[in-house]
């Protein structure tokens, strides 16, 4: 029997939600790591029982947790994230130079081929890698030493590396995104990086077409087409058909093109989802209506998905890592809100039901489809 497992990171702990393939009734387990921010929990595609969790708290710093039994038990792994080489600077909010300073892990990306290998995207922006199941971490420091790095400046959430995409056809290619530096790609397993922001336009920075400085909120890719990337930028929804070498805007008829999440249907690589947010000053859905927007042709033409979602008096946000899709035949789509609801659709977004409604603010959501 197929089991669907949702891994929920919240502002006050982690939760695990499980269901059968019908995805109608859910069991809620947790919280784990009570009282801590859990920015991300993700399972290994190689060994789905192997889970990694990022647990942090301003008072106490960073902890990485690992489970080898699908989240029944957890064990603290290594938490020493030491920048390699000289500590350089980035720009601070007031444009002064600010030394890189590790704060937390935003995103954990387990390897596609090895359960003991996992990448960590951290604040201040850097990429770390562990090959011993999180026990030790090594920075892929060519990124932080990129010539443009001294000009990178933090977004409202900090200078965070929040998106890590592995190319299933090329183990040397990684695509990452940093708020608010932009997107970068390596084709040599992290030895060198190039900014991939051509076509992005950000009117709120001094040079709207700059090589770096764009506040990329999230990037999604369908594994069957690694050269096609979809991006939710601070403002604007974008797509690239050449691995990020250039981007075109596909915001089309969205009510607002500000937002955080973006994801791709499991079986239809041109079907994508976003949750428009009113603006960068009003971080909630427009008009009090919680609407997922779906495009079935890769952007520009969008339809509102509202069946089962609150359509009045709703003022929640959906954060960048808080949407995910399963790979059952009828694709499941899930998202979590800053008001603690997790919504599920077992029919590609046509209708929605709340899985759970009163969790702490949801920071991230990942799904595992378990045979």
């Amino acid at each position: 029997m197929t089991t669907v497992r949702l891994l929920v990171g919240t502002h006050k702990g982690a939760f695990i939600l499980t269901s059968d393939e019908r995805r109608e009734r859910w069991k809620v387990d947790g919280p784990e790591f009570t009282g801590w921010d859990v920015y991300h929990v993700k399972g290994s595609p190689v060994d789905p029982k192997r889970l990694y969790a990022s647990q942090s708290r301003g008072w106490f710093g960073q902890v990485v947790q690992r489970s080898d039994d699908g989240g029944k038990t957890w064990e603290p792994a290594g938490n020493e994230f030491k920048y390699e080489g000289a500590i350089n600077t980035h720009k601070w909010y007031d444009n002064t130079d600010h030394p890189y300073d590790f704060t937390r892990v935003w995103h954990l990306e387990p390897s596609l081929t090895d359960a003991d290998t996992v990448y960590a995207g951290v604040e201040d922006a850097a990429l770390f890698k562990s090959t011993d199941a999180g026990k030790t971490w090594e920075e892929l420091d060519a990124l932080r030493h990129h010539p443009t790095a001294p000009s990178w400046a933090p977004g409202a959430g900090g200078l965070c590396l929040h998106t890590i995409i592995q190319d299933p056809t090329n183990p040397d290619r990684l695509t990452i995104a940093i708020s608010s530096a932009g997107a970068f790609r390596t084709d040599d397993a992290g030895k060198s990086w190039k900014p991939i922001n051509k076509g992005l336009r950000s009117d709120f920075i001094p040079d709207p077409d700059a090589e770096v400085g764009h506040c990329v909120h999230h990037i999604a890719m369908h594994p069957s087409r690694p050269n096609v990337l979809f991006m939710q930028k601070h403002w604007d929804v974008m797509r690239s058909d050449n691995g990020g070498d250039s981007w075109t805007e596909v915001s089309g008829n969205l009510p607002t093109d500000f937002g955080f999440v973006i994801d791709v249907h499991a079986h239809e690589p041109e079907t994508i989802y976003v949750v428009p947010i009113k603006s960068d000053s009003d971080h909630f859905v427009p008009d009090g209506k919680l609407r997922v927007y779906r495009s079935k042709n890769g952007g520009n033409e969008w339809e509102a998905l509202t069946n089962g979602l609150p359509q009045k008096d709703c003022y929640v946000n959906v954060l960048r890592d808080a949407m995910t899709v399963d790979n059952l035949e009828s694709c499941g789509v899930y998202f979590g809100t800053t008001a603690g609801q997790v919504y599920a659709s077992n029919n590609s977004g046509d209708s929605w039901k709340p899985v759970v409604e009163n969790l702490p603010a949801v920071l991230s959501l990942e799904v595992q489809t378990l045979a």
């Binding site: 008072w59 106490f60 710093g61 938490n79």
Partner: protein
């Protein structure tokens, strides 16, 4: 035995009660107590002191016998009451935020 009181978030991380008891060989100082604590509970490494510099995390403070020891030398002897186990060495998180 040296008694060390932990803040709630670190108690859940180390899966212990409000206080732990530690054997500390040699001089009993803040440094030797924290080193013994981290040896007994490795998951606490990096959560109280920086891994590399061993400096106190900024939103934690250290107390004993109603005295704030946070800015004292980490190698200064701790009070006799702490050494004798009559008083705990307190690791306190800032009371702020939600």
């Amino acid at each position: 035995m040296i008694r060390v009181a932990l803040p709630a978030n670190l108690r859940t991380l180390a899966n212990v009660g409000r206080e732990v008891e530690l054997e500390v060989g040699g001089a009993v100082t803040q440094r030797t107590v924290l080193t013994a604590l981290e040896a007994a509970y490795p998951m606490l490494r990096g959560t109280i002191r920086d891994h590399t510099t061993q400096t106190r995390r900024p939103m934690l403070r250290f107390f004993a016998c109603e005295e704030d020891l946070s800015d004292e030398s980490p190698d200064a002897p701790l009070p006799e009451e702490v050494v004798a186990g009559k008083e705990p060495y307190l690791i306190v998180g800032a009371i702020a935020g939600g």
